[in-house]
């Protein structure tokens, strides 16, 4: 039991920055560049951890609480998820609600830390983040309802259990497909990827997530980047498990399926980022409301 928890945490902690490298490599390939090395995110984190801090005289302890919560929440959330063949270390009836609300906690403190600096740019980023996320949350709940209906269970481990294979072969496969699309959209919103947000832009006015962390420096910035990378893996694990519900029963085989799935997901995100333009800000809520309607449709299909 303890060995498996340690293994799961190790996979998350060691593996988390790699998908970011894959995304950047994919984008570079599309643009005809060589791009940064695959392990560049690791180098960045190591460099940031060695650097010192610089604080604005306006900030207080809340400014430091943002990175802390942003780092701890994905770690705890990963303990609620089954990773490939590893069963979820903490599993109880209704843990899926805790999973959703943990990310709410991290959003609260990231946005509060942004407002703590008193910068109007970071204020704009904070309000955009909370607005888009509150539209994304009902989508997640609709998707979870569909999955719970198929699995007849209220634990994340049960939702993402082996019954997914038969779900794909059942007449309800269409609703599962829609859920997959909806969750992918939520993944893009929550991890601030194109078309909702651009992690690479350097124009403060157009950014959402990146603008909220403008004032962070050194290890704190490193923790934010690391936390974001882990969040991508944790939310990605949901999508990957839905898309690839293969279960060989052999621990290493299952883990390999999971890891390859995450890397494939990173490639898909890279392709989406290379082929799509960023949406105008007023369009984002419309896309999210549209996705909510799609997820309602999935629920209706599943219940019929």
């Amino acid at each position: 039991m303890i060995g498996r928890i340690v293994l799961q945490l190790l996979i998350l902690l060691m593996f988390a920055p790699l998908p970011l490298g894959v995304i950047n490599k994919t984008k570079a390939l599309f643009a005809g560049r060589i791009g940064p090395p695959l392990l560049q995110p690791y180098y960045d984190l190591a460099r940031l951890w060695r650097k010192g801090f610089v604080f604005s005289r306006t900030t207080t302890w809340v400014f430091l609480a943002g990175p802390v919560v942003g780092l701890v929440v994905p770690v705890l959330a990963c303990l609620l998820l089954p990773f490939g063949g590893l069963p979820a270390p903490i599993s109880f009836h209704g843990d899926l609600i805790l999973f959703v609300y943990l990310f709410g906690l991290s959003r609260f403190f990231t946005a509060a830390a942004a407002l703590d600096t008193g910068s109007s740019f970071e204020g704009m980023g904070a309000v955009r983040e909370v607005t888009f996320s509150c539209l994304a949350e009902p989508i997640v709940l609709f998707c979870l309802l569909v999955l719970a209906h198929g699995a007849d269970s209220l634990t994340l481990g049960g939702l993402l259990g082996p019954q997914l294979t038969s779900f794909w072969h059942s007449p309800h496969a269409a609703s599962l497909g829609i859920v997959l699309v909806c969750l992918f959209v939520v993944l893009l919103v929550e991890n601030s990827r194109i078309p909702f947000d651009d992690p690479n832009t350097h124009l403060e006015l157009t950014m959402i997530h990146e603008v909220m962390v403008l004032d962070h420096s050194g290890p704190a910035l490193g923790m934010i980047l690391y936390g974001a990378a882990m969040k991508l893996v944790v939310l990605g694990a949901l999508v990957v498990r839905l898309a690839l519900p293969l279960q060989t029963g052999w621990l290493i085989g299952d883990l390999l399926v999971f890891l390859v799935g995450i890397l494939l997901l990173a490639v898909v995100i890279g392709v989406v980022e290379s082929t799509m333009a960023r949406l105008r800000l007023p369009r984002v809520p419309q896309v999210l409301v549209g996705t909510s309607l799609l997820s309602v449709f999935a629920l209706v299909l599943a219940l019929r």
Partner: protein
């Protein structure tokens, strides 16, 4: 039980102590506070025995016709009384620092008298088992509430808020008279209450509608919430905490108690409550985001939370109608726990808002800023309350919302097709939670983060210890329920059993609906420990860092506090999303020409129902009646004589048949 009664009496008369001492000193106020504390302590032993198998009852003869002095303490009453006692006691201590006799000689005595009276009346109301006793306590509470709201009766807006409250509460009481009269028809002890799940009547639907109007008016369900924002903004902060944290819950108590009488629950009762809950929840929080006044904002959040409570109760009622025992337990446990939780974190928020107002001297959020440096403890307490009210772990709000989520997921297991409509509760609750988070990020970030926007905010001072301790205890209580929720599971389970008239509650052991609470508490502890460790580590390695630089202003070298994001601009993008229902008013703001002159912008969001519907409708009715009166009472003596003659003729025709 007799000690409980002594405690209630002590609380009721506590305010009279203020009449003894001189107005220039605080002696009377301290005595009153001590009396309330003693009263609360006397009430505790009875509450600790609420899980014992024998019921605690007082049954005295009472000379009033139809009346019976019947008090009974069961788990449902206890779930409401426990948070009440905490709020009353801590609010009284807070008042020592916040509303001192010396500083408010004109109205502090009045506030103290009615503060004690309303507390005692509410406890009697929660214990009463007779319609007459209940309604008497209800009226004492309603009137004492009026005097709490109009504490500062020299201000016109306070008088207006009090007047609207008075109209609302009396329309509600009128409906309750009807409901209880109908409840009494056709049974022997007409005004005594029937046992749980034993009553049936052909007029059940009408009783429910009347009770929903009367109790919903007090609770502040959405179309009936009109009195709430103004009243909570007008009262002193610890009185607002009592009104919002406890008094509006008596409406919920009434609904819970009344629905427990019926043997059969029609399905439309549950659907109605679910619908009202969703409307109150979403529009309550949307209106809250649009507010600029911190206490009005908190008041709209009460509407939102009453919506969440109604969702829980609605699910429990549906569980009764469709025979789903786990749905009943989870829904009612969520409803009752959220009642207690809202009492705790909303009181915490009102008290810390009072501490801000005490320090800065205004209720406008846009005039705050940088308060965390000037009021570090108030800021910490407000942050805790904000995290709790957003329903985020590891605080108590998460537990009750989790129970309601779980109830709505349980619907998936039911075979009934119609019931699956109530699945929509879960996404609605998620939207409410997301919006509440946005709103409290706004309040906390704008008030406590950044630089002070005004000179008053720059010179703000921390509150005295008598105000800080109560807030700290509220925060501890929130954390206690959040981290050890399984402590309350037996009480909630028993309340759910009593509500449906069962003698034996469902087992709490493995497989019972409330069993996962222990696992949540484990996750909560892991979260707290991890956060503390990482925060401590980061804090230590950032010790020697430079802290003398300005915030990055994108290259602009002369930033000023006025350039910060304001609460209005923060709320604006969310308010625009809900503009289909809010209709905010916006004036000015667009500079024109190459060299624009000074221009101003203001936005404000009137209440959906009070300012747009009821006020115009009532003004129209008043105008109409004015015309009718001029027509009838025209001052011509001959016409008046004609009225008398006509009356006599009609009476003759009626009586000589």
């Amino acid at each position: 039980m007799i000690w409980l009664l002594c405690g209630i009496v002590l609380m009721g008369v506590s305010g009279l102590a203020g009449l003894i001492g001189s107005r220039a000193r605080d002696g009377g106020q301290k005595l009153a506070c001590a009396l309330i504390l003693v009263g609360v302590t006397l009430c505790l032993p009875a509450l600790l025995k609420v899980l014992a198998p024998t019921a605690t009852v007082i049954n005295w003869r009472w000379a009033v016709p139809g009346g019976q002095f019947l008090l009974e303490l069961d788990a449902i009453s206890a779930a409401f009384i426990l948070p009440l006692l905490l709020v009353v006691a801590l609010g009284a201590i807070y008042g020592l620092g916040y509303w001192r006799h010396r500083e408010h000689p004109a109205n502090a005595t009045k506030l103290q008298i009615f503060y004690g009276l309303i507390s005692a009346a509410m406890i009697v109301l929660l214990l009463a088992r007779n319609s007459l006793l209940f309604l008497m306590a209800w009226e004492v509470m309603a009137l004492a509430g009026y005097f709490l709201i109009t504490t500062e009766d020299h201000k016109p807006e306070v008088c207006r808020a009090g007047f609207i409250y008075l109209i609302a509460t009396h329309s509600g009481t009128l409906a309750l008279f009807g409901a209880f009269a109908l409840l009494g028809t056709g049974q022997p002890g007409a005004l005594s209450w029937p046992a749980a799940a034993s009553f049936s009547s052909p007029q059940a639907g009408l009783i429910f509608i009347l009770a929903l109007f009367g109790f919903g008016m007090k609770a502040g369900l959405m179309p009936l919430h009109i009195w709430l924002p103004g009243a909570h903004a007008a009262a002193p902060s610890h009185a607002s905490a009592l009104l919002s944290g406890v008094m509006i819950k008596t409406g919920i108590y009434g609904l819970v108690r009344l629905t427990s009488f019926f043997a059969e629950i029609p399905a439309w009762w549950g659907w109605t409550l679910l619908l009202l809950g969703v409307v109150s929840g979403i529009f309550g929080v949307a209106l809250a985001i649009a507010q600029h006044d911190i206490k009005r904002l908190l008041a709209y959040h009460s509407v939102e939370n009453i919506g969440i409570i109604a969702l829980g109760l609605g699910l429990a009622l549906l569980g009764r109608s469709y025979n789903q025992p786990t749905l009943v337990v989870l829904g009612l446990a969520g409803c009752l726990l959220h009642v207690a939780n809202h009492g705790l974190f909303k009181s915490l928020l009102f008290l810390s808002a009072g501490s801000i107002i005490h320090g800065v001297g205004t209720r406008e959020i846009d005039q705050y800023g940088g308060l965390l440096k000037r009021q570090p403890l108030t800021g910490l307490f407000f942050l805790g309350g904000a995290v709790a009210i957003c329903g985020l772990p590891p605080f108590n709000g998460f537990i009750s919302e989790w129970l309601i989520y779980l109830a709505s997921f349980k619907v998936l297991n039911s075979p009934s097709g119609v019931l699956s409509l109530s699945l929509l509760t879960a996404p609605a609750l998620a939207l409410i939670g997301g919006l509440a988070l946005a709103c409290f990020v706004k309040v906390f970030g704008i008030s406590f983060g950044g630089e002070p926007r005004t000179a008053a905010a720059a010179s703000a001072h921390e509150a005295p210890a008598t105000m800080l301790w109560p807030m700290g205890i509220f925060l501890l209580a929130c954390a206690f329920i959040g981290l050890l929720p399984s402590q309350l599971a037996p009480l909630l389970n028993r309340a759910a059993a009593q509500w449906q008239g069962q003698d034996h509650p469902l087992p709490l052991s493995l497989g019972g609906p409330l069993a996962p609470l222990a696992a949540i508490s484990l996750a909560g502890w892991i979260l707290v420990v991890l956060l503390a460790l990482v925060f401590w580590r980061l804090r230590r390695c950032s010790q020697g860092a430079r802290r003398d630089l300005g915030t990055w202003g994108c290259g602009y070298p002369f930033p000023s506090p006025k350039m910060q994001y304001t609460a209005s601009s923060f709320g604006d993008s969310l308010v625009r999303l809900f503009n289909f229902g809010l209709w905010s008013k916006r004036h000015g703001g667009r500079p024109d020409g190459l060299f624009p002159a000074t221009s101003s912008f203001e936005s404000h969001t009137p209440d959906l129902f009070l300012d747009r519907l009821f006020s115009p409708a009532f003004q129209g009715a008043a105008w109409l009646m004015h015309g009718v009166r001029r027509l009838i009472q025209n001052g011509v003596a001959a016409i008046y004589l004609l009225y008398s003659a006509l009356t006599l003729l009609v009476l003759l025709a009626l009586l000589t048949r």
